[in-house]
């Protein structure tokens, strides 16, 4: 069976999108999950470009990968779930202040 280059490329993107989508659910790290949800949108945007819909691709990239990621990350910050592995704040948190 002959597979042309574009189909192969689309297949790679589809696998990437599916893996990212599963990672969003599986990841323990909340910031990581937000970042991976951005990759889902980026992959879908590339698929839209392959389908000759650049307007839709642009909206998907800007809103899906940019805006919604920022809003989700700000929500995490508001909820106190902003936690990077092994990285702590330079400033002491409220609890550390009271402990000291």
């Amino acid at each position: 069976m002959e597979i042309d280059l574009q189909t192969l490329f689309a297949l790679v993107i589809v696998v990437l999108v599916l893996v990212s989508a599963v990672l969003v659910l599986v990841l323990e790290n909340m910031i990581g999950a937000v970042a991976v949800s951005g990759t889902v949108s980026l992959g879908v945007a590339v698929l839209f470009v392959l389908l000759h819909a650049p307007d839709v691709a642009m909206t998907e990239a800007v809103v899906g990968a940019g805006l919604s990621g920022v809003v989700l990350a700000l929500g995490l910050r508001r909820l106190g779930l902003w936690q990077l592995d092994g990285v702590t704040s330079d400033r002491p948190t409220e609890r550390e202040k009271t402990d000291a």
Binding site: V71, R78, L79
Partner: protein, 247 residues
Amino acid sequence: MRSIAALLFAGGLAFLLLIIASELGFGEPAMLIGGDILAKAPDEVGASNIVTAVLLGYRGIDTLGELSILFAAATAAGLVLVRGNKDCHAGANDPVGGFILRTGADLLFPLLLVVGFYIILHGHLTPGGGFQGGVILAAAFFVLVLARPGADGSGGMNHTAIAFIEGLAGVGFIGLGLWALVDNGNFLQPMLSQGVFGKLLSAGTLPLLSIAVGLKVGAELAGLMTQLAEQPAAPRHDPAHPGDRPS
């Protein structure tokens, strides 16, 4: 009693919507207008980007509806967020931005501004338009806020000015529509000379509508994100003690 009334109301509303939906003939008559638009749009509207010709020319009122939905959503989010306690120091629990973020923001800001305005102004020629460009403009201003939050987390963003720009853009969009209504009897009908096909100054009022949409979306989202950033961050949740949740 109140919950029974709410249940009755919700049930009645669902019943009403179901009746209306069952009466509507979805897909009847079949919409075969797409081919006609593709054939006629370059001559009728003069925009080389057919998508923009449809969004702002043939379906301008749908775009107005989209803008009002976005406005309602941003207003509702703002109403909920404004109630946060103002006396709490906004940046108290945030890590400091650092040199790389600040320098990167300074480099990115003009670039994003140019890209945003380019996409808005060329909406009738190349892919993109008011909405996409507007989001990029909002991102440009938010990058600044992120790098230099300042004492209150607003990064020097003036909410009055943002609201003013947003209102002005909205009034501009509706004003262009009303102007067309007065001029030839059709709301949001593209007007002015079509110019030379494919040039920057072409397609009549479409670029003006595109600028209005871009400024409105940009101001709205920048205001929303700044408002989110002004919220005091909750103390970090310690994964070692999953039991004590931040209050």
